[in-house]
Subunit: 328 residues, 2 copies
């Protein structure tokens, strides 16, 4: 029986996970950034910086700034931090602490300089016998906070753990979906952020709804093409693949879409990054994914255009004029 | 060389086609509803009722209320009217007039009581040797009027005519895409309107972006399933399939989405239909498609839910609660 979970990270998505699992009756030990943040949460029952309007039930949640304390009694450790911070956090975790515990990731990015998804990276890092589980959307943290109906996917190769997590989710606004393709799920969650930057850029450049739809349907083709190369085919219509992609591509909450919109409006990439309060995972994902796409020798017009705009100083207006010719 | 085109219909989509083809240098004979409407257009250079802000170039456009006059000198006849009016219009057309002319449809629906797509229906009705061509989006008429970049698909089994039409399109904001699957294109344009009603209903019921995305990705699975039954598989990522579906599912311009939204907000179906200025094709399509889906013995949860709400008095709130359990 799953009772004790550690959640590593205190951004908006980690906060949403804390909320979902604690409302399902799990005991959460929650690793946050500092003692001040832990004390604030204990006093005020909400995260000071992210998703601050979500009330948290402290009967089930114990915030701490000690990784050891967070992990000690947990059966399952969920990493939910930006991919660029993973290596920093790992410095404070002794590999021994994870002995006989299950590990899950809910991180959307490639670990810098590794060419590896977070799940594959952590399995190797901790030398785990079992593959890492993946927890994915389609979920905006903001909509979770508002208790709006949505779906949460638990992906993993071990059906026992997948079902154990899915079964423990009992909040009425969440429907748990199980999935046996954690690597595919991780890759789509990376690709969709890059696609979100593309749709945001199109919107910033004042393209209309017709073009946006063509952009997204062509981007779906690219996701299919990429996944066919890295692993066997799966049905991409499941919510965790195209559902999650559509949330990011169309949402007003999406950080990646917002970043794209700023860039489309003519703000320089560096300035746009500075203007963002939160990490837009697609920015780094685009950089880390480029060599992988090169190695696969495939052409992904939308994904490649975003890379040229973000990392090779391409002019967004001209880049999209060229992209128009490649969509159909 | 294609020079003379007849366009049958004066709704917003027909008006958009008149604009696109006339700006490409074609001569358009345009069958409108009445002499008054024809006179108004000649005097004011715009359609009085639909897309009235789009200026029309009368050097290339001749409006008329005579079907014979419209068709007489045309090489290509494009039908662009609501599916429910087709039989009415056909009463004024002598089958002989179409001898040796190409016929295209840009109609999104099943012809009532026929179980047939407009293209298949017209081919049989006029006893045409050649299959009918299909002109499809993703195109909102409103965005065409604003000259916003988009894609227009010419689908047909005869590559000569398909290319002839595609080649004559030379307005800078339209990119012509050719396609060899006219029947598949017609079916998707029918299904997407029903899906538009579903997303509108979800929005009216105050579901959020997460659920909408799950709804759309599951609906894409249903489109794939349906098309696999009626014809060989094709790549649904082309703009004319999923692109067009996404425009309707997400657009604020979509009549079908608007109809769904009213129903989701608790307005009775009949009242919602009355409140609509324009025909929401998905309403009739849902009715006409139901027996076809029954015959195929497939389960399409989203499409079937819309049918129960529109035509079997199902309560939208309860129907969507049941639907939630069937999505994944």
């Amino acid at each position: 029986m799953l009772k004790n979970i550690a959640i590593i990270g205190s951004g908006s998505w980690a906060t949403a996970l804390v909320k979902i699992f604690s409302e399902s009756g799990m005991y959460i030990s929650w690793l946050v950034r500092s003692k001040e943040q832990a004390d604030f949460i204990c006093l005020n029952k909400h995260n000071p910086r992210y998703l601050s309007y979500a009330e948290l039930d402290l009967d089930f949640i114990r915030p701490t700034d000690s990784a050891e304390e967070a992990i000690l009694h947990a059966q399952l450790i969920i990493f939910a931090i930006p991919s660029t911070y993973l290596n920093y956090i790992l410095q404070s975790i002794d590999k021994e602490w994870l002995h006989n515990k299950a590990v899950a990731v809910s991180i959307k990015g490639i670990i810098p300089s590794s060419g590896s998804t977070p799940g594959l990276y952590l399995r190797k890092y901790f030398n785990l016998k079992e593959p890492v589980l993946v927890i994915a959307g389609p979920c905006h943290a903001e909509e979770i906070a508002m208790k709006r109906n949505t779906y949460l996917t638990i992906a993993g190769e071990d059906p026992v753990w997948v079902n154990k997590i899915a079964d423990c989710l009992s909040v009425p606004y969440i429907r748990a979906v199980t999935n046996t393709d954690p690597v595919g799920v991780e890759y789509v969650s990376i690709l969709k952020n890059i696609i979100g930057i593309a749709t945001g850029t199109a919107s910033g450049l004042h393209y209309g709804e017709n073009f946006q739809a063509v952009l997204v349907s062509n981007a779906m083709r690219e996701v299919d093409k990429f996944l066919s190369c890295v692993q066997a085919n799966r049905s991409l219509y499941d919510s965790v693949y195209f559902g999650d992609l559509l949330v990011t591509a169309y949402s007003c909450f999406s950080r990646n879409r917002t970043l794209g919109k700023l860039i489309g409006r003519g703000i320089h990439v560096n300035q746009a990054l500075l203007a963002m309060e939160m990490v837009a995972e697609g920015y780094n994902a685009s950089k880390e994914l480029a060599p992988i796409i090169d190695d696969l020798k495939i052409t992904l017009p939308v994904i490649n255009s975003v890379h040229r705009i973000l990392h090779q100083h391409a002019n967004p207006f001209h880049e999209f004029k060229l992209l128009e010719q490649q969509l159909y």
